[in-house]
């Protein structure tokens, strides 16, 4: 299971269409955390930063606060200029710029982290 968290539904659908694995899409961080609390632990997460309600950074903080989610690989998908290294301690394994990313970038991360 892969989580895609993005408040832009069309962008989220595009990401989902690039992968073959089962995915769940969330428009905000709270719904995603609720799903995890139900026991659905994703193999990896594609996460937008600017979200309605708690932002992507808050979500990352929540993830590392719990043993069962601290090691989930997260790929940030954003238009912001963020240094990936500064987020490495939050389990961030990749950073994709929405303006230049290509389907093979998404597939590459899925291939590497969701098996």
């Amino acid at each position: 299971m892969i989580f895609v968290i993005d408040d832009d539904r069309i962008m989220a659908k595009c990401i989902v269409s690039y992968v073959r694995e089962e995915t769940l899409v969330f428009a905000n961080a709270i719904d995603a955390m609720d799903k995890i609390a139900e026991g659905i632990i994703p193999k990896m997460i594609f996460l937008d930063i600017l979200l309605d309600g708690p932002d992507g950074f808050t979500f990352l903080n929540e993830l590392v606060s719990y043993n069962d989610t601290a090691k989930i690989p997260v790929v940030i998908v954003t238009s912001l200029d963020i240094n990936k290294n500064s987020l490495a301690t939050y389990g961030v394994v990749g950073m994709l710029n929405k303006e230049i990313m290509r389907p093979e970038d998404i597939r590459g991360y899925v291939e590497q982290y969701s098996k």
Binding site: D8, I10, M11, I15, S79, K98, E99, I100
Partner: protein, 226 residues
């Protein structure tokens, strides 16, 4: 910055997200028939060009914060990179692009990203409006303590008011050009703002069959590895 221009720049910032979505939607059609493949490829390229321009416009707002570092920049590397990107973005529409390096000095004092955008906007305009039979030319040369990048544009003549604004070194807002359909002058506006930030001069030379746009930058004396 006046309110009108600030409004334009805000709108540019807002356009980034929908343009990025449009580009991704074109990717979703991957695997469509060969007949539609060129349409899909064109959609991607058009969105990428638009994204670059709105990104540049959004950057104009950030110039006031002075966050763009001035440093020694390799001119040839920048010009080559722009030519490479345009050959990808324009595909068959590029025609032939002739780049000549006559400069001995290799480094200028600039911000790489801003210089890249100035050269990109000059070249994109030149290619877009040039008569198909004409070659687009870019010449890099140096004189005294300055390096000059000239882009020869064979497109329709530049309106006199725009020409004067560029000559005076100040294009204060995007302005539509009657002789260049579809142009808002946004490329020149961006080039003017970025040049001003880098203490560089931009200018134009009118020819009977077009215009040469140029930017003059201060040479850097730092040793070059390129």
């Amino acid at each position: 910055m006046n309110e009108e221009v600030d409004g334009i720049l805000l709108v540019a910032h807002e356009l980034k997200a929908p343009l990025a979505v449009m580009r991704q939607l074109a990717f979703v059609f991957e695997g469509a028939g060969a007949k539609d493949e060129h349409v899909r490829a064109e959609m991607i390229r058009v969105s990428e060009r638009a994204i670059r321009q709105v990104n540049d416009l959004a950057r104009v707002r950030r110039l006031e914060d002075g966050l763009f570092t001035m440093e020694p920049v390799a001119v040839r590397e920048v010009c080559d990179a722009v030519s490479h990107e345009l050959s990808y973005l324009l595909g068959n529409d590029l025609g032939s692009l002739d780049v000549k390096y006559k400069n001995k000095s290799r480094l200028v004092i600039a911000n790489r990203d801003l210089l890249y955008s100035v050269v990109y906007n000059f070249l994109l305009n030149a290619i877009h409006y040039s008569d198909d039979k004409m070659k687009t030319k870019m010449i890099v040369s140096d004189k005294h303590d300055k390096v000059k990048i000239v882009v020869r544009d064979y497109g329709p003549a530049l309106p006199i008011d725009i020409w004067r604004k560029i000559k005076s070194g100040r294009v204060d807002k995007p302005t539509s050009m009657a002789m260049r359909p579809g142009s808002s002058g946004v490329g020149l506006y961006i080039a003017s703002k970025f040049s001003e930030y880098m203490n560089a001069n931009i200018g134009v030379v009118r020819h009977r069959d077009g215009t040469s746009f140029y930017i003059e930058l201060m040479m850097s004396n730092q040793a070059s590895l390129f």
